[in-house]
């Protein structure tokens, strides 16, 4: 088994991004590292299927994403907070300019349905285009856009960010602005 040094270096450079995606997707560093390791092993074992000149990043993300889904199907009940109990605990809206606690954010992400979560992470955090994210997820661009919108709405709901725009201004000031007489 051999790996072209240039490809190896490209894979090496992609590891941090693969880890960031995997940690955000799974909410666990240990599971994420297992997932990245399995991804690299699969990629090395199937390197003859990679078309030189095409996007190695996208290929690796696709492998990782498919591995995650295989694992996810086996342990679905552990991944999402389907009863929404965490959302109840986060019912107090955060201050508008406060940074969110990373653990809160990771737990909130775990509540977003997995297909929406991966689309949001690929586009909003990883910076892939909708077309690239669609390729990685194996869906059409419109589906990715829809999933990203839904993921944002769900996250805003869980983190009570939607309350900021709805209730952000002082109610007395709001009422005065609406009834200037």
């Amino acid at each position: 088994l051999t790996l072209d040094p240039a490809l190896r270096d490209l894979m090496l450079a992609t590891i941090p991004s693969l880890r960031a995606f995997a940690v955000s997707l799974t909410g666990s560093s240990d599971r994420a590292d297992d997932l990245v390791q399995e991804t690299l092993m699969r990629a090395i074992a199937n390197i003859n299927r990679f078309e030189s000149g095409t996007n190695l990043n996208a290929w690796l993300f696709t492998i990782l994403r498919n591995l995650f889904h295989s694992e996810y199907r086996k342990r679905k009940h552990e991944v999402e907070d389907a009863d929404g109990s965490y959302a109840v605990r986060l019912s107090t809206p955060p201050e508008q300019n406060d940074r969110l606690n990373f653990e809160d954010l990771k737990r909130a992400l775990a509540q977003v349905p997995v297909d929406q979560r991966e689309a949001l992470l690929l586009v909003s955090a990883e910076g892939l285009s909708y077309e690239e994210a669609a390729h990685v997820c194996g869906v059409v661009v419109g589906t990715v856009k829809s999933r990203v919108n839904r993921a944002r709405a769900r996250l805003a709901q869980i983190l009570a960010l939607d309350h900021e725009s709805e209730f952000g201004a002082d109610p007395v000031v709001k009422a005065a602005l609406q009834n200037p007489s």
């Binding site: 960031a20 909003s124 944002r152 709901q157 309350h163």
Partner: protein, 68 residues
């Protein structure tokens, strides 16, 4: 790539409404909230990107170098 379902036309899952707070999932979010979510996610990513890489991942590729 296969043609997936058009999710916009489907009814949202019931669990999205269980907490009874917030807008329906297809509602257009305030631009500022969209930007904040993006900013928070990028900060989370940045934090993870700055973590040292696990030795086992580096070793996996280093082993490839010695075999070449």
């Amino acid at each position: 790539m296969h043609d997936d379902e058009d999710e916009i036309s489907r009814s949202p899952p019931e669990d999205l409404f269980r907490t009874g707070i917030g807008p329906p999932p297809d509602a257009k979010l305030d631009r500022a909230i969209q930007e904040r979510i993006g900013r928070e996610l990028r900060q989370l990513y940045e934090e993870i990107l700055n973590e040292p890489l696990p030795e086992r991942l580096l070793a996996l590729l280093e082993a490839q170098g010695t075999l070449h």
